[in-house]
């Protein structure tokens, strides 16, 4: 008896974009009821491949077969009709619409030719949720849900359309370790139920935990398919990057001195008046890197905003070298020696339509030598730009091209060149390597360590726990606006940190229920 045809086969998929061969003859097969992981670093070609599967792109050559039959997928509607559903990395949910409306969109359950049948839709949604282990409120506005629950809504969207093949793109990027375990549970149930799942990730240990098979993609080609039992993290990492990778940058010993940044009793309210940072105390010493670990949305953004002068705290003090800088604006802080690398680099850190030169002086254009009074000094700016480009290895044909033409890594280098120069006392790094290629990540990590060794105090905020653990001399865990634990960077236990991130160290595991948690 022959094995039944695989649920999905992609053969020889090739796709070229201007300047880059995104997919180069990729073969992939997915069996029924299998969880198949697709592993690769940013830019390897995973997203392109899945876009092709979902009809969002057309391959230059290659075939797609569903249950052994060759098909042409003409667009998302076609893909959905064929039972392929995609859960995107950046949620495709409309925040102001309800759970039901988001699920119904495009696949509306109608009462008649014009009007929606809400009652029927509600019934089906609740039932589907229960089947896979959770209670969902169809009338909740998606924007008010926690990230973990939005993820569940995305999955329900796929199931409502009776998808047989689910593609999940970096599903755990924004989940706590606890939420990740819960979602894995749901996925296993789905697989047992006969659904076939493609799980895209760059997180090695997760992939080893959940997948039945792992396919590694590098630079547009498949470089290997493994069973989890046959491989480990080092092996996978090497496949992903193509050389022996130092998973841990050697950060050397730190020699912390006096506290540079002191935060005392800081309380911050958000735009809606809710308290998002509660009576927070923290200290960062000169010559050390303090990393804040925490799930996005626990007050880190507001804390960083308060320290960098973009938000006023409601209570408490911030001190720099014993000077009270509470409530100071960005310019005063820059003058006092605070550098900040913002989390959203294209929105806050750069003016993409300005030249690299202008971006390099974005926070210093008003000072000598770049200006005297009202008049700008173009020669001084040009000269300094040339030096910075050299020192920070910014790849660009000229100093006066638009910043928007640079790659992500080079854009970040411009910001780093700007903020790291001039002996800052304190550096605030917010998601400094998000979305960057491995080379840039290594470069920036090395620069940060160099600054630390030169005596700067560095506050690192990152959603990538790996990065926090790799760089930090001390790790502070932030949960619901408070620092709930501080651990030594070398001896910290990943499991413990993850647990602290998820629960704040207060609630027992069982208390984390599987009913809807709305961020109140």
């Amino acid at each position: 008896m022959t094995d039944p045809a695989p649920a999905l086969e992609m053969r020889g998929i090739t796709k070229r974009y201007p300047g880059v061969l995104a997919n180069d003859g990729i073969d992939l097969d997915l069996r029924h009821g299998e969880i198949h992981a697709l592993l690769g670093e940013n830019g390897a070609g995973k997203s392109t491949l899945m876009n092709i599967l979902y009809g969002l792109a057309v391959p230059d050559s290659g075939d797609i077969l569903l249950d052994g039959e060759p098909v042409t997928i003409k667009g998302p509607a076609d893909a959905i009709a064929r039972g392929i559903s995609m859960v995107h990395q950046h949620f495709m949910l409309v925040p102001v619409l309800t759970v039901a409306e988001n699920i119904l969109l495009g696949e509306e359950t109608m009462a008649n030719a014009v009007f929606l049948d809400r009652a029927e839709a509600h019934r089906r949604i609740v039932e589907l949720g229960r089947r896979f282990g959770f209670e969902i409120d169809p009338e909740a506005k998606v924007g008010s849900l926690s990230v973990g629950w939005q993820q569940r809504v995305e999955i329900l969207k796929a199931l409502y359309r009776e998808a047989r093949i689910l593609v999940l793109d970096e599903p755990t990027a924004v989940l706590t370790p606890q939420e990740t375990t819960e979602i894995f549970d749901v996925l296993r149930r789905l697989a047992r139920d006969g659904h076939s799942i493609i799980f895209i990730s760059h997180k090695l240990y997760e992939v080893l935990a959940i997948a039945d098979r792992i396919t590694v993609i590098r630079r547009g080609r498949v470089v290997g398919t493994r069973l989890p039992s046959q491989t480990d993290e080092d092996d996978l990492a090497e496949l992903m990057v193509g050389r022996e990778v130092n998973l841990v940058v050697d950060r050397g010993e730190s020699h912390p001195a006096q506290p540079e940044l002191r935060i005392e009793g800081l309380s911050i309210t958000d735009d809606r008046g809710r308290i998002v940072v509660k009576n927070l105390d923290l200290e960062v010493r000169a010559g050390e890197i303090l990393g804040i670990a925490g799930v996005a949305g626990n007050g880190q953004d507001e804390l960083v905003a308060a320290i960098t002068g973009l938000r006023r705290p409601a209570e408490g003090r911030v001190l720099l070298s014993d000077r009270d800088i509470t409530g100071w604006g960005p310019r005063e802080l820059t003058d006092a020696g605070v550098g900040s690398v913002p989390g959203d680099r294209q929105r806050y850190g750069l003016v993409l339509s300005f030249s690299i030169e202008d971006n390099l002086v974005l926070t210093s254009y008003y000072r000598p030598p770049f200006a005297s009074g009202l008049v700008r000094n173009d020669e001084a700016i040009e000269q300094w730009a040339e030096e910075s480009i050299r020192a920070y290895d910014i790849r660009t044909p000229a100093a006066d091209v638009m910043a928007g033409t640079l790659s992500g890594g080079n854009q970040q280098k411009v910001i780093v060149a700007r903020e790291f120069s001039g002996q800052p006392r304190l550096l605030v790094l917010d998601q400094p390597t998000r979305g960057l290629d491995v080379g840039s990540i290594e470069f920036i990590h090395r620069q940060a360590i160099a600054k630390r060794d030169a005596g700067a105090a560095i506050l690192l905020v990152s959603a990538e726990l790996d990065e926090v653990m790799e760089l930090s001399d001390r790790i502070a865990v932030m949960y619901r606006g408070e620092i709930v634990a501080i651990r030594d960077g070398r001896s910290a236990d990943r499991e413990e940190i993850g647990l602290l991130m998820a629960t704040g160290g207060r609630e027992p595991l069982e208390a984390v229920t599987t009913t809807m948690s709305v961020v109140e």
């Binding site: 876009n51 979902y54 009809g55 969002l56 792109a57 057309v58 997928i73 003409k74 667009g75 998302p76 509607a77 076609d78 959905i80 995609m86 995107h88 949620f91 495709m92 949910l93 409309v94 925040p95 102001v96 619409l97 409306e101 988001n102 119904l104 969109l105 495009g106 696949e107 509306e108 109608m110 014009v114 009007f115 929606l116 969207k157």
Partner: protein, 361 residues
């Protein structure tokens, strides 16, 4: 009761306020004046509906003014030319004549045609939508001015007929509140009534129908809509062009229902007040309707003061205020309300952002 009224009116400063309130209430309950409110409001309401159709789909439309102007002109021209050719005896209901219907039809078609242009610029060309809307306004002003000089000025006898109002039976009018409502409703022509119906229909459809759900999704998060298989481009085009119908009706109202001739710059900023109504009304049909009524009421106030100026101390206060102030009042009120409300009024999230398709088809 009357004694209390007099007493309150007599208090030095607050008394003026009380008198003002009393005056406004009297004006509001006077069917002639409150009827004027609907009269002034109709083009605002229709303009706002056009705005909502556009903006809820994610397309900013500053060009409502220009669309109304073009529709007003060509509707007028169409009706006028038709009247030269065919019989135009007013029918029994609303004084309908064939030329008038032709005029309305032309106005609607022109509204849709200009909307096609706006849609093309905004959706396909992906131009800056505020600039493209302004271009439409300038173009409308220029074209109507030119054609007015070319065709209408040499032919002053063109046009003239308008829709008449319908007189309901007298018994109905005497019913207390209902009568007042009926009087206002039918004191104007069919376009005014249509505008009210449109508000109700759009409100229901926007929040309860499949079309409404898809429209709102496209305006908030077009990428999400695309990934569930919705053709964002087609939805936007369709809604913008349908919205042109309402702008066309608004223009038709101005030259075929409210008055029977065309002046340069006839729209006088109503398209922008309609836009303000959309913003103040939080992009909902009912909200925009309420805002339009508010803005129209300030216009009606001017009429009220002209017909029956306030007396007593209130009257002396009003003597000081120059007549031009009332002309400017709707615009002043618009600014004040807009400034007060806009911080709390959130547009559809993808409003104004051109959308770039990614799918294969």
């Amino acid at each position: 009761m009357d004694a209390l009224n007099q007493a309150l009116a007599g208090i030095p400063v607050i008394g003026i306020v009380w008198q003002a309130v009393g005056y406004l209430v009297a004006a509001a309950t006077n069917p002639t004046i409150s009827g004027q409110v609907l009269f002034f409001a109709t083009p605002l309401i229709l303009g706002a509906m056009c705005g909502i159709m556009n903006e809820r789909s994610g397309v900013v439309n500053i060009g409502i003014e220009g669309m109304m102007l073009m529709a007003a002109f060509f509707g007028f021209l169409g009706a006028g030319i038709a009247a030269q050719i065919m019989p135009s005896d007013p029918g029994p209901i609303f004084g309908i004549t064939i030329p008038l219907l032709i005029g309305v039809l032309v106005a609607i078609l022109i509204g849709m045609a200009v909307s096609v242009l706006h849609a093309w610029l905004a959706i396909t060309i992906r131009a800056n939508q505020i600039i493209s809307g302004t271009i439409i306004n300038i173009f409308a002003g220029g074209l109507t001015g030119y054609l007015h000089a070319l065709i209408i000025t040499p032919n002053p006898g063109l046009g003239g007929a308008i829709f008449a109002s319908w007189q309901p039976p007298a018994d109905l009018l005497n019913v207390p509140v209902l009568g007042w409502a009926v009087n206002i409703l039918f004191a104007h022509g069919p376009i005014a009534i249509t505008s009210l119906i449109v508000v109700v229909i759009l409100q229901i459809l926007l929040f309860r129908s499949r079309w409404g759900l898809r429209t709102r999704a496209v305006g908030e998060h077009p990428k999400a809509a695309e990934t569930v298989g919705i053709n964002v481009i087609r939805v936007r085009y369709r809604n913008v062009i349908l919205g042109g119908i309402f702008a066309g009706l608004a223009g038709a109202f101005l030259t075929l229902e409210s008055q029977g001739h065309f002046q340069l710059q006839l729209t006088a900023g109503r398209g922008f007040i309609a836009l303000a109504a959309v913003i103040v009304g939080r992009w909902t049909p009912v909200g925009a309707f309420a805002a339009a009524i508010l803005f129209a009421a300030t216009d009606a106030l001017r009429i009220a003061i002209g017909i029956a100026p306030p007396t007593g101390e209130l009257g002396t206060v009003f003597q000081i205020i120059p007549a031009q102030f009332y002309q400017a009042l709707p615009y002043i009120v618009t600014i004040i309300v807009l400034a007060g409300v806009v911080g709390r009024s959130t547009p559809p999230a993808a409003d104004g952002q051109p959308y770039e398709r990614e799918s294969a088809t």
